[in-house]
């Protein structure tokens, strides 16, 4: 159907945009990760892509646990993506002050080498 073709086209476009778009925003965290490749979690070195993905998922879940019961932080619209120790927080929080709270608690999780916030303040709606 028309719709599927368009959806596919958008995903492809988006994928093509990826590297250049990220060069600037993630400059700090990317550089940090490159400078300290030994900062990966202390557990056995990932033997494959699959094992690395599993470790990323595990780390994201650990961050999720760490931020979701913090007093004064509404974490119900925060999505967490982990990539070899560097963690990105996406989504939104209700108030500006909560962005820093979320970042602080994510940074404190063992195995996290850097935290990038993409959190917006408030949900914008239609």
């Amino acid at each position: 159907m028309n719709q599927k073709v368009l959806l596919l086209a958008a995903v492809v476009t988006v994928a093509a945009l990826n590297p250049s778009a990220y060069a600037q925003n993630d400059a700090s965290s990317g550089a940090a990760a490159a400078a300290s490749p030994s900062a990966a979690p202390a557990s056995a070195p990932p033997s494959s892509r699959k094992a690395m993905k599993a470790a990323d998922r595990k780390l994201a879940r650990a961050v999720r646990k760490a931020i979701e019961h913090v007093k004064g932080l509404d974490a119900t619209r925060i999505a967490i993506v982990a990539n070899d120790g560097s963690v990105t927080l996406a989504g939104s929080v209700p108030q500006a002050a909560q962005v820093d709270v979320a970042v602080q608690h994510a940074k404190a999780v063992p195995g996290v080498t850097s935290v990038t916030s993409r959190l917006e303040v408030g949900e914008i709606g239609p």
Binding site: A10, V11, L17, V63, R64, H69, A79, V121, I124, P126
Partner: protein, 409 residues
């Protein structure tokens, strides 16, 4: 949203510097025109029935996807002792034409002022969102990733922010262990008839850990005047402000419920919950909307309806963060309506969206929706698909695809 912050140094005009330290005015907004493809939009009616055609257009996101264009100011003034004064003035406009939104209002989205105390709560006065929107809308795909077109057919339960409440006083409690509530009263303002066009809403919610739960209720007297009559492009009781049956050369508008403009009251209640995993959020929402006391003098009743009409809606939605910039969303909703003359209709809708965030402020997106209708609608005619914000289809099916850029400041 990253805001441009302008701190007003009240000290410079001779007011206490203690108060000025915490006082601020913030300028913010969204610009979001969307490219829209609709597979079938009505153009009129002939002897053979409704006529429809394909449409390609640019339409502001306020009636398509994803985030309606707006410019707003909000401010806060510390009054000491945990109290503050606050205001919000928020204009809606169409980015594709520059026109004022909400039927031509200057501050059509929100306009209110109020007092807040950390222990006692917040009271605000002006044009505001109902409690139902405050609490239940954030659980839908509409607010999370889909925008106006992913609301229920013709936004039957108003979770898509179609109607705001004028002349409204709202009291919101402080948040206590994740629990909070608010209540709103909108004055009808009619001399000699206190209840005419009044609106009462309340809502409550709980947020804790991964879980969010909310309920809401709205009761609008004379909804053709109070809900749909609150914009300058609306008419009085002799005008159907909800929609129209169309003509030989004009399309229908809101056929899902516009036949019920003569209702004495509109009652909506609903609730929902969402659960958040590391990368994914899943949610469910249920709403019940009733048009009660059909045949009242609040609006035209050309079909001579009496009694009531009811709609039940169930929605399930999911969003998934694929990578730092890329997220996906999908939702499904089922709407069933029953009218006063045995006219029953049901609508199935599937929505899907892709967002690619170039930065915190700039977002490329595509949101698509598909709807299929069956049965008999509020005009006692064979039901046609009517995705919210679009001109209804001439057939049982409608597909819309939107592509846009939402920029926040």
């Amino acid at each position: 949203m990253k805001k441009t912050r302008i701190t007003l140094l009240l000290a410079s005009v001779g007011i206490s510097s203690v108060a000025s330290a915490q006082s601020s005015v913030t300028l913010y907004g969204v610009v979001d025109p969307a490219l829209v493809f609709v597979n079938n939009a009505q153009v009129g009616r002939s002897a053979g029935g409704l006529r429809g055609a394909q449409q390609y257009a640019m339409i502001d996101a306020s009636t398509t996807a994803y985030a309606g264009s707006r410019v707003g100011f909000k401010g806060n003034e510390d009054l000491g002792g945990g109290s503050s004064a606050l205001f919000v003035l928020e204009n809606g406009f169409a980015a594709n034409t520059g026109a004022l939104g909400q039927g031509g209002l200057l501050f059509g989205r929100q306009a209110y002022v109020g007092l807040s105390n950390s222990g006692l709560g917040t009271v605000t006065l002006g044009r505001q969102y109902s409690s139902m929107i405050d609490y239940v809308s954030p659980l839908t795909s509409i607010v999370q990733w889909g925008g106006y077109i992913t609301a229920q057919p013709d936004d039957i339960d108003n979770l898509g922010l179609t109607n705001r409440q004028n002349n409204a006083v709202k009291y919101a409690t402080p948040t206590w262990n994740g629990l909070s509530a608010n209540v709103l009263y909108s004055f009808g303002g009619v001399a000699g008839d206190v209840s005419r066009s009044q609106i009462v809403t309340f809502g409550a919610g709980y947020t804790g850990g991964p879980l969010r739960i909310a309920i809401g209720y709205l009761n609008a007297f004379d909804p053709n005047l109070s809900m749909w009559g609150s914009q300058p492009n609306a008419g009085g009781a002799t005008t159907n402000n909800i929609g129209t049956l169309g003509s030989a050369t004009t399309p229908e508008k809101n056929p899902v419920m516009a036949g019920y403009a003569s209702a004495h009251r509109e009652q909506i209640f609903g609730g929902g919950a969402s659960y958040t995993f590391a990368r994914a959020t899943v949610g469910v929402v249920y709403t019940n909307t009733r048009f009660v006391g059909l045949g009242s003098n609040a609006g035209p009743d050309p079909l001579g309806y009496t009694g009531s009409a009811m709609f039940n809606v169930a929605e399930a939605n999911v969003s998934y963060q694929v990578s730092a910039p890329l997220s996906l969303g999908a939702s499904y909703s089922y709407t069933e309506g029953s009218g006063p003359v045995g006219n029953r209709a049901h609508y199935n809708q599937v929505n899907a969206g892709v967002h690619y965030a170039l930065s915190k402020r700039t977002d490329l997106y595509m949101v698509a929706a598909w709807q299929r209708a069956a049965g008999v609608d509020s005009f006692n005619q064979p039901a046609v698909a009517s995705i919210n914000g679009l001109t209804p289809s001439a057939s049982k099916q409608q597909v819309v695809d939107t592509l846009g850029i939402a920029h926040r400041f």
